[in-house]
Amino acid sequence: MQAKDDAQASWHEIVLATFKSNEVKLVTYVPDRVLTPLIKALHADRYFTCFATAREEEAVGIVSGAWMGGTRGAVLMQTSGFGTLANALASLAVPYQIPLVMLVSERGTLGEFNWGQALVARTMRPVLDSLAVEHHTITRLDELEFTVDRSIKQAVATQAPVALILSPLLTGGKVFKA
């Protein structure tokens, strides 16, 4: 276990602090229920430029452009949103060698109630693997800071995209109330 104050920080506080310590200043997103506390905190912090886009591809384009202009960014999305990104990854982020940081709230598993979410979620890791995009599924709070911090640093150093998948084991996920 990490220090007590770390253990008490919530997952979204850790993500925000780790973005800041890595100078990730621009965050674009298509919202997700689980990501809501992170999105609210990013909007409330003047360090960040944070806004919603109409589609995840658009969010990827914006962060890619910002990287080329000298500003680090990250894209927040849900698994179903990742499902729209194969072409943007295969024809922009990967071949142009852009350190695109993707934070994906994982739906479709560990208590999913929507069949479509369960199905699209199964396409995510095969797409990432087929493009050899680094990805990590984060299940534990005590591994979150290390994984996010090192992944951002590796993305920048190797000029390659990375996907950080936030498991319901970490976030609690979206719960179906029967």
């Binding site: 109409a54 589609r55 990827v60 384009g61 452009g65 080329m68 024809s91 071949p95 060698q97």
Partner: protein, 212 residues
Amino acid sequence: MSATDKGKSTSAGLPARSGNAKVMNRTDLTRRLVARLKREEAVIGGIGNTNFDLWVAGQRPQNFYMLGSMGLAFPIALGVALAQPRRRVIALEGDGSLLMQLGCLSTIAAVAPANLTLIVMDNGIYQITGGQPTPAAATTDFVAVAQGCGLSSSAWAADEEDFERLVDAALAADRPMLIAARIDDKPGAGTTLRDPVQIRERFMRGLGVRGA
């Protein structure tokens, strides 16, 4: 207008949706645009003929050429504009590409970077795939769409001189706008060298992000 409006693709209803705008030529307009850039403005060229003509107009280090990700020229330009607020950024996009990502006009209107100019080259067809009309060809006015999204100073270029005037106005504006130009069905006048890493690295040097 009648003299240049003889291509079968551009007769598919364009006059009704773009007023009296003259049908111009993409290569010519891109050259006119580049000739007006004196302050190391960044230019993002959309997939296909749009960036081919940007390549032909002069390979400035501040040009970025898209070899894929159809529809992302405006979003990429928005990112560059946010990262470099003191540099003017221009995005060149085709009408078919813009149709893929119309939602970005709302995003750009909401974020409203003062240094971003959007240009759409509208021939009503997917020229590069065989000239098929777009679903927008007969019915959609891209300037009206942009205005409806909140880019209120967007305008059609009536002719080449008007295009240059609009570019000058956009480069001095304090809000983003879209300039739409009706163009003919000619292909690009060349082909961009397809090396994405070299394109990206050169662009970053051109923007001063990388050392020489």
